[in-house]
Amino acid sequence: MIPFDQILVQIVNGLVNGMILALVASGLTLIFGIMDIVNFAHGELFMLGAYIGTTVFLTTGNFWVALVGSVVAMAVIGAVLQVAALRPLVGRDPLTTILATFGLSLVIQNYALWQYGPVPRRIIAPVTGHFPLFYVEYPVYRLVIALLSAAIIGGLYLFMKHGKHGIWIRATTQDRVMAAAMGIPVPWVHTVVFAIGAAMAAASGVLYGPTIGVNHAMGFDFTLRAFVVVVVGGMGNLGGSILASIFVSLLESLASIWVSPAQAIIVAFVALILTLLVRPTGLFVPTPK
C-alpha cells in the first residue's frame, strides 16, 4: 500500500515540474503555430539562456538582473538566428527547417562547450528556505519557479489576446497570406515570434539553473519532453501545450512511485504514442464540429 502522503508529494512535484515544462513548451508551440517550424534548437536556446544568465549573475551578483539580461539577450539572439538561418528557408520543405534547426542546436551546444568549458556553472537561487511537506522539506524556490512560469505564460496570453502585436501574431497564425494582404509585416511577425520563443526558453533556463547546475547538455532533456507535450497538447495550441505539460509531468511523477524512474520516463512516450494513435490532433484540442 502506497502511503497517501507520498502520492500528494508527487502531485506537488508533478504540478511544479509541469509549469516549468509548460514555459519551455509554450515557446516551442508558439514558434510552430506561427511559422510551421519544428524548432529542434529550442533546448539549446534554453541552455544558452542559462549560460548567459550565469555570466550576468557573475557580473552583477543579482539573480533578477541575470534573468532579465538573459531574456533580452536571447530575444536579440533569437531574432538574429531567425533572420539569418530560418527566414531564407520559409516556404521550403519542412524537412529543410528541421535539419536547419537541428544543425543550429549542434552549433549552439558546441559553442557553449567551447566558450564556457565542460565544468557546470552555478547560479544561486534568489529565494532559499524550505517548508515541511509531509515527510520532505520542500524548497520554496521550486514553488517560486512554478509561479513565475505561470506569470510569464499568463503575460504571453494577455499579450496575444489584447496587444496589437499579439493580434498580428494571431492573424498570421490563422492565415498568413490574408494577414500580409491586410498590411501585417508577416516576416517581422515571424522574427518577433522566434525572439519571444527564445526569450521564454532563456527565462526557463535561468529559472531552472539553480536547481540543476548549468551545463551544455541541459537542453536536450527539455527538447525531447517539450516535443512530447506539444504533440500531446496539439501542435501549435498554446493552451493545450500547457495542459499537456502538467498532465505529462503528473503522470511521470505518479508513475515513479510504482515503477523505476527509468520506466516512469517511458510514461510520457506512451502518452505520445497513444495520442498519435487515438487523437493525432492532440488531447487538449476541441473536437471540430
Binding site: Q6, Q10, N13, G14, V16, N17, I20, L21, V83, R87, P88, V90, G91, L106, Q109, N110, L113, Y116, G117, P118, V119, P120, R121, R122, I124, H130, Y135, V136, E137, Y138, P139, Y141, R142, R176, V177, A180, V186, P187, Y208, T211, I212, G213, N215, H216, A217, M218, F220, D221, F222, R225, S249, E252, S253, S256, I257, S260, P261, A262, A264, I265
Partner: protein, 438 residues
C-alpha cells in the same frame, strides 16, 4: 500572387538575394584549399625533433560532445598531458607519439563505429581512452577482433576485467570491488549502519551498487533500499525519485558522476535528505569540477577516490605537485574557470605512461607486436613518481586490473580534505576473469 511565399514582393527585401557566380565560387574554393594545404605542410611541433622517425599512432576514444562531453574533455587533457611530456623527453624508443582522437558523442553505437574507424582506416597501433562504461563494453570486442591493445582510461564497470575481460584490454586504475573493499569498513564503522544506495542505472552504476551492497553487508552494515536513476535523467525525474526515498536509514550512498551527480545532489539537498542522513558515495560525485557548482550543497560529503586534488601528505610529493600544476594549466585552456585536475585526468595520464613503459620493455613496433606488449604489461609493477603521481600500482596479470591506493576524503569548505589512505594491498580482491583462448 506568387506561388512561393518568399517570392512575394513584400518579402523580397527580407534576405540576401545577391548572386554567387561560378568564378567567385571557384576563386573562394581555391583560396580555401590553398590555406588548408599550407596548414598541412607546417609540421607538427614534435616532427622537427624526431626527423623521419615513424610515430606510434595511439587512437583515443572520448566523448567530446553529448551528455558525457564534460568528463571526456577533461579525460583527454590527461592523455594529451602525458603525450606532450613523452614527446618532449624524446618519445618512446626514439619515436614520437601521435594521437588520433575520435569523438564518440557519448553513444555506444558511435563508439563502436569510431573504434572500427581508428583500427581499419587510421590504422592506429594501440587504443586508449574510454569514459562511459557502456561504450567501453561495446568497443572491447572490436579491439579484440583486430588484435589491438586498448588501454582504457576511465571506464569503471566491473565486468570489463571480470566476466567480459579481454586479453587485449587493460584497466590501469581501480574498479568498484576494490573501492568497496577499501571504503565499506569506514562507511559502516564511522558514518552509518543503515544505508540507502542511489545509483546510476546503467552498467557502471549497477555493478558498483552490487559491490557496495556486498561489502557494506560484510562490514556489518545494512542496505535498507536502492534507487536507480537513469543516465542523463532530467532534473524533474531525479526530484521525483528523491521524493520517493524514505524509510529507516541513516546514510545515503550515491553512485553518480558528471551532470547526474550535480542534479542528484541538488535535488537531495533541496528536499532535505542530507538533514536526515549522512551523505557519502563514489568520489565521482564530488570531483573538483563539481564543487563550485554545488557550493554548500556538497559540504560534508564523504567519498572514496583514486585521486583527489590535495597537496597535503602523502600527496605532497614533487611529482604530484608537477602533475597538478601542469594539469591546471592545460585544463584552463578548455575551461576558463581553471578547475583542479580530477581522476579522469590522472588515470588517462597514467594510462599513457603504462603504455610508454610497456613499449620500452617489449620493443613494440606496431600492431604485429601486440602480444609482446601484452606480455610486458601483464603483472607490471610501477612506482610513484613523475609517470605515476597517484602512487604505486600493480597491473595484475590474471585480469589486467590495476590495484592502487585509495583516498577517503570529505568536502570541507568546498575543498577536498584527506581523511584516510587505504594502502594498495588492502584493496585487492580475487581475480574473476577467464581470457578467451587466442
Amino acid at each position: 500572387m506568387a506561388e512561393r511565399w518568399q517570392d512575394e514582393a513584400w518579402a523580397k527585401d527580407m534576405w540576401w538575394s545577391g548572386k554567387t557566380t561560378r568564378r567567385r565560387l571557384l576563386g573562394l574554393s581555391a583560396t580555401a584549399a590553398g590555406a588548408l594545404g599550407a596548414s598541412m605542410l607546417v609540421p607538427a611541433p614534435w616532427r622537427a625533433a624526431f626527423g623521419q622517425a615513424k610515430p606510434f599512432k595511439i587512437g583515443v576514444l572520448q566523448p567530446l560532445t553529448g551528455t558525457a562531453a564534460a568528463g571526456g574533455k577533461t579525460a583527454l587533457v590527461g592523455t594529451q598531458l602525458a603525450t606532450d611530456r613523452i614527446n618532449r623527453s624524446g618519445g618512446i624508443n626514439g619515436r614520437p607519439v601521435e594521437l588520433v582522437v575520435a569523438d564518440y558523442e557519448s553513444k555506444p553505437d558511435v563508439g563502436r563505429r569510431k573504434a572500427e574507424k581508428l583500427l581499419v582506416e587510421d590504422k592506429v597501433d594501440i587504443g586508449e581512452g574510454g569514459y562511459l562504461s557502456n561504450v567501453c563494453l561495446a568497443c572491447m570486442p572490436v579491439f579484440e577482433e583486430h588484435k589491438t591493445i586498448w588501454m582504457i582510461g576511465v571506464c569503471l564497470d566491473t565486468t570489463i576485467t571480470t566476466s567480459k575481460c579481454s586479453r587485449y584490454v587493460f584497466r590501469p586504475f581501480d574498479y568498484a570491488p576494490s573501492q568497496a573493499v577499501a571504503f565499506a569498513p569506514y562507511l559502516v564503522n564511522k558514518l552509518a549502519k543503515k544505508w540507502h544506495i542511489v545509483f546510476l542505472d546503467y552498467a557502471w552504476g549497477q555493478t558498483t551498487r552490487d559491490a557496495y551492497v556486498e561489502q557494506i553487508k560484510k562490514a556489518g552494515g545494512e542496505i535498507v533500499g536502492t534507487t536507480g536513476i537513469l543516465l542523463g535523467a532530467p532534473a524533474d525525474t531525479v526530484t521525483s525519485s528523491v521524493s520517493n526515498i524514505r524509510g529507516n536509514f541513516d546514510g545515503v550512498f550515491a553512485i553518480m558522476f558528471g551532470a547526474n551527480a550535480v542534479t542528484f545532489t541538488n535535488a537531495a539537498y533541496e528536499l532535505g535528505l542530507f538533514k536526515k542522513a549522512k551523505y557519502a558515495g563514489d568520489g565521482a560525485v564530488a570531483e573538483s569540477t563539481h564543487l563550485a557548482t554545488l557550493g554548500q550543497k556538497i559540504e560534508g560529503f564523504t567519498g572514496v577516490n583514486r585521486y583527489i586534488p590535495v597537496l597535503t601528505k602523502p600527496l605532497d610529493t614533487p611529482a604530484h605537485k608537477k602533475f597538478f600544476d601542469e594539469a591546471r594549466v592545460k585544463l584552463k585552456q578548455i575551461d576558463p574557470s581553471g578547475p583542479d585536475p580530477d581522476r579522469y585526468v590522472q588515470s588517462n595520464f597514467e594510462a599513457m605512461n603504462f603504455l610508454k613503459l610497456g613499449i620500452q620493455k617489449s620493443g613494440f613496433r606496431d600492431r604485429e607486436d601486440s602480444m609482446k606488449l601484452i606480455e610486458a604489461l601483464e603483472g607490471m609493477e610501477v612506482k610513484e613518481g613523475d609517470d605515476f603521481p597517484q602512487g604505486d600500482k600493480t597491473l595484475r596479470k590474471e585480469d589486467h586490473q590495476a590495484f592502487l591506493r585509495q583516498f577517503i576524503f570529505d568536502i570541507h569548505n568546498n575543498k577536498h580534505r584527506l581523511l584516510e589512505v587505504v594502502a594498495k594491498d588492502k584493496t585487492v580482491v580475487p581475480p574473476a576473469c577467464t581470457f578467451a583462448k587466442a
